[in-house]
């Protein structure tokens, strides 16, 4: 209802929201659980868009683990082991994230972990 509509709008920058999901009964889940689907959809859309400009660079699907900290959106993108994009350097990963219109990269993890975190501007998503 009305308070739900205001939830994200009212959230100050940096607010940490932990999510639980209903599954038969309410139970604790990891922070990202409740938002995987929506972010997955969004990032897949961005990957598809990116492919139009850089054919062959990203040939495999992305698995997305997402954590939201409204109003920013922090998204961790994890690449499958068999993806050709495993050869990307962290810097190139950064270029990829910028191509998603991410506001900034907030953390670069070693390439062997195949994932990178990006901070998305909510107005860009």
């Amino acid at each position: 209802m009305r308070e739900q509509l205001s939830f994200f709008h009212a959230a100050p920058a940096g607010l940490r929201v932990e999510w639980r999901t209903y599954r038969g009964s309410i139970r604790a889940k990891t922070t990202s659980e409740g938002l995987v689907l929506s972010f997955q959809k969004e990032v897949k859309r961005r990957v598809a868009k990116l492919k139009l400009f850089t054919p062959g660079m990203l040939t495999s699907r992305f698995d997305v683990l997402a954590v939201i900290e409204p109003p920013q959106k922090i998204c961790t993108i994890e690449l499958p082991m068999n993806s050709s994009a495993r050869t990307l350097t962290p810097r190139q990963w950064g270029d990829v994230i910028v191509a998603y219109n991410a506001a900034e990269i907030i953390a670069e993890v070693p390439l062997r972990e195949r994932k990178v975190n990006a901070l998305f501007d909510p107005l860009q998503l």
Partner: protein, 239 residues
Amino acid sequence: MRGCTDLARVVVSFFPKRHGDRLFPLPMVLPSPCNVALVDGDFSRWHHGDNGWNIVVVDPICWPDDPPRSAHFVKTALPLLLPKTRWVEYGDANKCVTRNKEWPSLSLVAAARPAGDVIAVRHYSDEHLGNGPTRENKPHRTVKDEFIETRMHMKIRRMQPSVFTDIDAQEAWYRAQGFEFDGFVNDAMCLAWQNTSLARQFSCVWSSEVRVVPDCNLLFGQFACLFGCASLPARSHTL
């Protein structure tokens, strides 16, 4: 609740009875002095039982024609209401229950070592509370969906035209700011607040948007219309 510095639980049951009886009992909880159920005058302890709660009858006069909205204001403003309590769990009496009709306290705070300012749940339309299988592939509820649902719900409640004017204004305001209407919308029937500065800031703004209070400093005064000043702790924090 002055001694409840670590954890307090607040459940609200302002919802009017139907067919002469209240539809939902309070969720069952392990009795504690820090469990408070805010109920309206139709609640009968003898008939419904306290189920582990300390019953406080209040008059939801902030919106006399819309008691659920008064309940919403309680949920959004709890960190300001209980500024000395580290964790405050909130629940709508009719919705914040497990399938065993228990308060989901372990899930909200105790077992998970949460680090968040707020603990919330995704909308139950995705995974309905205790009724049937989960629906992993169902599209998530969006803000746009929720505006539609809210208007429908207000029609069912037969609310005044001014309510719809308010909702229209809220939607126009959000659109003007470029707010994401296709984004995920959470549920708010169960919440846990950690009393951090960010949580209080959020509580203040959120309550202002729900209550349409122009100045956050006026919020605390607004509680008087719900609870009466006598039971309130002294305001000791700065936003």
